[in-house]
Symmetry: C2
Subunit: 266 residues, 2 copies
DNA sequence: CAAAAATTGTGTGATAACGCACATACAAAT
DNA sequence: ATTTGTATGTGCGTTATCACACAATTTTTG
């Protein structure tokens, strides 16, 4: 079962929805549909027409591209800080990338038509959606840089921090195999990097459960890519008012699915 | 001196400007300022506030990120097909990346305030700008994938084709050193890859002048990343009406500047 | 025309990541 | 409690790319 019962959910757990002025929020509220987002669920397949826009609250979604020979690479990650489906209001109705739930939880969704209508009014939702898209662009750009210049270990730190930022507690539920698929590297490479991080005392892990032990040290160890994106998000996006005070609590284990089939690497 | 005399320039050489309906175009026309864009010119520094949006006509601009230790990586490339400065209408007024002229030529620019005003009207310019941004997102995503999974030789092919697409002729004016900076790899790596492409008869080159000899073969040799982006651009963006018929003519040599200082690689 | 600078070519050894083949360890299921 | 499956650990040879050093050209400059 998925963590958190539905009645503990609230659209304002999503930072974008929380930042909407009351009038707009109330207009959208009846259209917001709560959806459980289980691990491995493909919100949208590569090239498929988007039917909804998703505002994750407790779930985390990966945007990734799968190559012809089955290798994959994460392009960006979205959680409570943003929305999935920017192509809808940007003019395409699909993208070459796939959206997959990377960490199970809940989210709210709007029908494509409803979102487009509200976006075209040119009000707060438009401004928020565009600002978030700009933050997403920064994340994608930095992913490209990171893939070019930084080690698997640095990229693992980045992934862990990005995920940790979007979860209430310190426990990440993800196997090394899944991490390898997201980073687009070998599983063994993740094993070695994670082993070093554990030996250094930054994290501890066991069979799909990673606990962040020393976040400040992780932040020192990660490459600049993480910090560049973080800073840009803070600059562009509405701050989650309880983000700082929020106590990190242990997360609840959820059921596991296959993420993506193991990449066949050239 | 830069190729093409100013009076051979026309804003409609830029595909986005060309796609604007007459009414909008005429409204913007008096505000469009023709600017020569010499090789190496930094349109906008990382983190600096954007003062203008640029619509290249014959020039090509690289968006690239420079790391703390001086290494660089191209994020995306824009020419007559698009515009430089999406952050302006997306809500940020700056980006962590730098915009540098990669191939000298001309372009038109609009003051930030003028563009923002027109964008807020929600008309054709907004729709075009957003569609182009979606295409840019695709390019950035594919750059991330390419950096992760493909060889320097494949990436060189991609760079050559992207550049060739944005030039009138078959001659690209760029040194291997400059290419290395854009790809974020060693200059020697480019020398070797380019040597193989020349040996195969796809290109020929000499001291900063590369001629595309067999484009169809290059297109077969390049990784899927190029084709994914091309297809998505064709789908999202207004087609340049003379793109197909346009005769490729030899380009004219321009003066050379330093692109970026050689990266110190960790 | 000579000197200086820019561009490209080549060789050598180091390294990070790869593919593959297993071994080990823990968890879930019958 | 034993089996089955999932997750992680490890070793070994291979490869792409790296860093560095320098040679060989061609172009530009004084």
């Amino acid at each position: 079962m998925i963590a958190n019962s539905p009645n503990s959910n609230n659209p304002k757990q999503n930072d974008l929805l929380a930042a909407l002025p009351g009038e707009v929020f109330l207009r959208l509220l009846p259209e917001l549909e709560l959806v459980p987002m289980p691990l491995g669920w493909v919100l949208c397949e590569s090239g498929a027409k988007l039917t909804h826009v998703y505002f994750p609250t407790t779930a985390i979604v990966s945007l990734l591209y799968v190559t012809e020979d089955g290798a994959s690479a994460e392009i960006a990650m979205t959680g409570r800080d943003g929305l999935v489906g920017v192509a809808l209001f940007m003019g395409g109705d699909s993208t070459p990338s796939r959206a997959v739930v990377q960490s199970a939880g809940y989210g709210y969704r709007l029908k494509a038509s409803v979102l487009k209508r509200e976006f075209k009014l040119g009000g707060h939702l438009q401004a928020l959606a565009l600002s978030y898209t700009q933050a997403l662009i920064t994340q994608m750009a930095q992913t490209a840089v990171c893939n070019r210049h930084h080690t698997v270990e640095q990229q693992l730190c980045r992934l862990l921090l990005l995920t940790h930022d979007r979860l209430p507690g310190d426990e990440l539920v993800m196997t090394q195999e899944l991490i390898a698929n997201m980073l687009g590297v070998r599983r063994e490479g993740v094993t070695e990097a994670a082993g070093r991080l554990q030996a250094a005392g930054y994290i501890k892990y066991s069979r799909g459960h990673i606990t962040v032990l020393d976040r400040p040290r992780l932040e020192k160890h990660v490459c600049e890519c993480y910090h560049v994106v973080k800073k840009e998000c803070d600059r562009l996006l509405p701050q989650n008012p309880n983000a700082l005070q929020r106590e990190k609590e242990p997360a609840i284990t959820v059921n596991r699915h296959v993420y993506v089939e193991r990449a066949v690497r050239h």
